[in-house]
């Protein structure tokens, strides 16, 4: 057995590195291929609810039929454009808010006493102990017209009657920022904690006031953490479905909600798949460009 494996070039080391690749192939690449396949087919009322791509035409003719109509449909119908743009806008604004809140928090934790750091980080991660869905539900109780927040504001006398907060964009932003903030703080903290403090002393020594040292040294050096945190918030926020459906205006256009409707209400799997593929391209292409630019910068200097 062992010898046979070896003849095939499957030594222990190769097998170990093969495991993650296998995982990625089985759980990411193959499902992606299936979704891609469905996005090129035509819907029909059957099980499964779409036509096969390959079928026999005559004796020895295997025909492949690609339906590009699903993608054309996405371009033609304004609904999808609006949903994509609105999702990206909501995700981008949420990401910026997360960064504005997350950076000072991560910075403060990284600068705090080493014995306190673990406890503070534990508090950041603590919400994950409860279900995501429950935590979003809890916000309904806080934001609704006779909810906690409105009652509090009425009690201290800031307002005379409840403000409509639930089922507004505001509630969606609150929900997304609250849910994804830890994903911003974690990579930022990991980055800021490693920052060599003598670099800040060196900046002060060379004439920088504290805020200048922050702007010229801390901020550029925390760029990898900022980017990692922003990607971790932005990408899932674009496709977010639960938060806008529970907290947002029912008419709010989000691509995650459109996807849900296509799949479950319209039972149009091919169009739903096309929506998913288009979303993936929207997100992956900018990230790939960014990665290439990063690599070029890291290797630069000598070649420039």
């Amino acid at each position: 057995m062992n010898a046979r494996l070896k003849r095939l070039g499957l030594r222990g080391r190769n097998l170990t590195t093969a495991v993650p690749y296998l995982w990625l192939i089985v759980f990411f690449l193959i499902p992606f291929a299936i979704v891609l396949k469905i996005s090129f087919s035509t819907t029909q009322i059957a099980m499964p609810p779409y036509e096969p791509l390959l079928h026999w035409a005559g004796e020895k003719m295997l025909q492949i039929q690609l339906n590009l109509g699903n993608f054309a449909f996405l371009v033609e119908d304004n609904l999808y454009w609006m949903a994509y743009l609105n999702s990206i806008l909501v995700a981008a604004v949420s990401t910026v808010i997360c960064l504005l809140i997350g950076f000072p928090v991560a910075y403060a934790i990284a600068r705090s006493d080493p014995s306190a750091r673990n406890i503070l980080m534990l508090l950041v991660v603590l919400p994950f102990w409860t279900s995501f869905l429950l935590r979003v539900y809890a916000w309904i109780g806080i934001l609704k017209n006779n909810g906690l927040l409105n009652n509090f504001l009425l009690w201290i006398g800031v307002i005379d009657q409840p403000i409509q907060m639930l089922q507004t964009d505001f509630a969606v932003y609150v929900g997304i920022v609250y849910s994804y903030l830890p994903f911003m703080i974690l990579p930022l903290y990991a980055n800021l904690e490693k920052l060599d403090l003598t670099l800040l002393e060196a900046a002060a020594d060379l004439g920088c006031k504290p805020w200048q040292a922050f702007y010229k040294v801390t901020l550029p050096l925390s760029k990898p953490g900022i980017i990692a945190g922003c990607l971790l918030v932005f990408i899932p926020a674009v496709g977010e479905f639960v938060i806008p459906s529970l907290l947002g205006d029912p008419g709010m256009l989000m691509i995650g909600k459109v996807l849900w409707t296509e799949f479950f209400n319209n039972r149009d799997w091919p169009v739903a798949s096309a929506v998913a593929i288009a979303l993936l391209l929207f997100l992956v292409i900018p990230i790939m460009f960014y990665q290439r630019a990063q690599d070029a910068e890291a290797g630069g200097g000598v070649h420039r």
């Binding site: 670099l199 002393e201 060379l206 920088c208 006031k209 010229k216 000598v302």
Partner: protein
């Protein structure tokens, strides 16, 4: 600012000139961290164009004193003057002082040029002026070819020179160097020592260097301040520190030494005689010391100031009988460890003057050690 190297024949000893004004004045500076006294009532005068070394073991307070000079630590009490101006409460970014950090603290996200230009940009100088000064400074530290590189593409020695250039390009009144050579390997360290001295003489900047390496302090400095437990024990030129240590600690910290504990049996203005338990005959020293008769004193004799011989000396003092216990051949010198009859081990170095010396002393040989009456240094603490 003089760009000419100092003429060798003209002695540079401003500390002996009663009219010279100290350039850096550390006045009764104390720094406490909680109950721990890191710097204990230090008063020091440092003169323009000196290379002053703060020498001491780790934890002796030398780095804290340097950080007080840079402005990173505020002294608990005492004052700091630089060029006559009170700097005690001036923040680091407003001091005419630059520091070279032990870790170099080169900005990893900037090229060599950007690192060196950093401080000048902060001053708001014109672009052309910055480019010219950065270029000149990179030439001086021989990094002209490396301006566009990032720090991770440089060797340790090159990063050290970036740190030096970045600090010097601001033309500071005072450059502070924290263990500047500790991270370099031995060959590069020796080379860099002389390079540092050359650069210092070219630019005429006053250097204060912190080091734990007595050899480094001896080569670099105009004067050494020896520190222990936050206090300055002794200040002097390298040769003063070596030949006239003021205490047992100073004698033992700088170079190696044989220490003989004894009592004064004769105490005259022109000579003293010391009786030691480890020696059969007394030690005779041809100069007087200030101490009371009968007091415990220590006679310190450097290993190279003792001679080994085979014939028993006839004199009534300054010799000892011993057995060769160990020999270390170092090439230029040999180190002998010799056991006295009392059991005390004495260290003696002898130059290997001839290539084929057949009569070298060998293990377990009975020999006699002698020294000149002016060789021992008598210390009372």
């Amino acid at each position: 600012m003089s760009t000419q190297p100092r003429p060798a024949q003209q002695k540079f000893e401003p500390w002996n000139d009663p009219d010279a004004k100290p350039y850096v004045r550390i006045e009764k500076v104390t720094k406490q961290f909680g109950d721990f006294v890191a710097v204990d009532d230090v008063t020091l005068d440092i003169y323009k164009k000196e290379i002053f070394c703060l020498l001491g073991a780790s934890g002796c307070g030398k780095t804290t004193l340097l950080r007080i000079l840079a402005g990173f630590e505020k002294p608990t009490s005492g004052r700091i003057y630089i060029d006559g101006v009170d700097m005690t409460s001036i923040p680091p970014y407003e001091r005419p002082v630059n520091m070279m950090f032990q870790s170099y603290a080169v900005f990893p996200h900037m090229t060599v040029e950007q690192n060196v230009a950093f401080g000048l940009k902060q001053e708001g100088l014109a672009k052309a002026e910055i480019a010219r000064r950065v270029g000149d400074m990179l030439e001086l530290v021989r990094l002209g070819q490396f301006g566009k590189r990032k720090p991770h593409q440089l060797s340790g020695g090159q990063r050290q020179r970036v740190a030096l250039a970045r600090a010097l390009v601001k033309k500071p009144k005072l450059l502070l160097l924290d263990e500047p050579l500790a991270a370099l390997d031995k060959k590069l360290r020796e080379h860099t020592q002389f390079e540092l001295i050359n650069i210092q003489e070219t630019l005429g900047v006053t250097f204060i260097v912190v080091t734990h390496d007595q050899e480094e302090a001896m080569t670099l400095s105009s004067r050494i301040g020896l520190m222990n437990h936050g206090e300055i024990l002794q200040v002097g030129t390298p040769s003063e520190m070596y030949e006239y240590p003021a205490s047992r600690f100073a004698a033992e910290f700088i170079g190696s030494v044989n220490m003989f504990e004894g009592r004064l049996i004769e105490d005259e203005p022109s000579y003293v005689r010391i009786e030691c338990d480890d020696l059969e005959v007394p030690i005779y020293v041809d100069h007087g010391i200030s101490s009371s008769p009968g007091a415990t004193v220590w006679a310190a004799i450097r290993p190279e100031k003792i001679t080994i011989g085979r014939d028993q000396p006839q004199a009534g003092d300054n010799w000892a009988a011993a057995i060769v216990q160990d020999i270390a051949y170092m090439g230029d010198v040999s180190i002998y460890l010799l056991r006295l009859d009392s059991g005390k081990v004495v260290r003696v170095t002898q130059p290997n003057t001839y290539r084929h010396a057949d009569d070298r002393y060998t293990w377990d040989e009975r020999v006699y050690l002698t020294w000149h009456p002016e060789s021992p240094v008598v210390v009372t603490k």
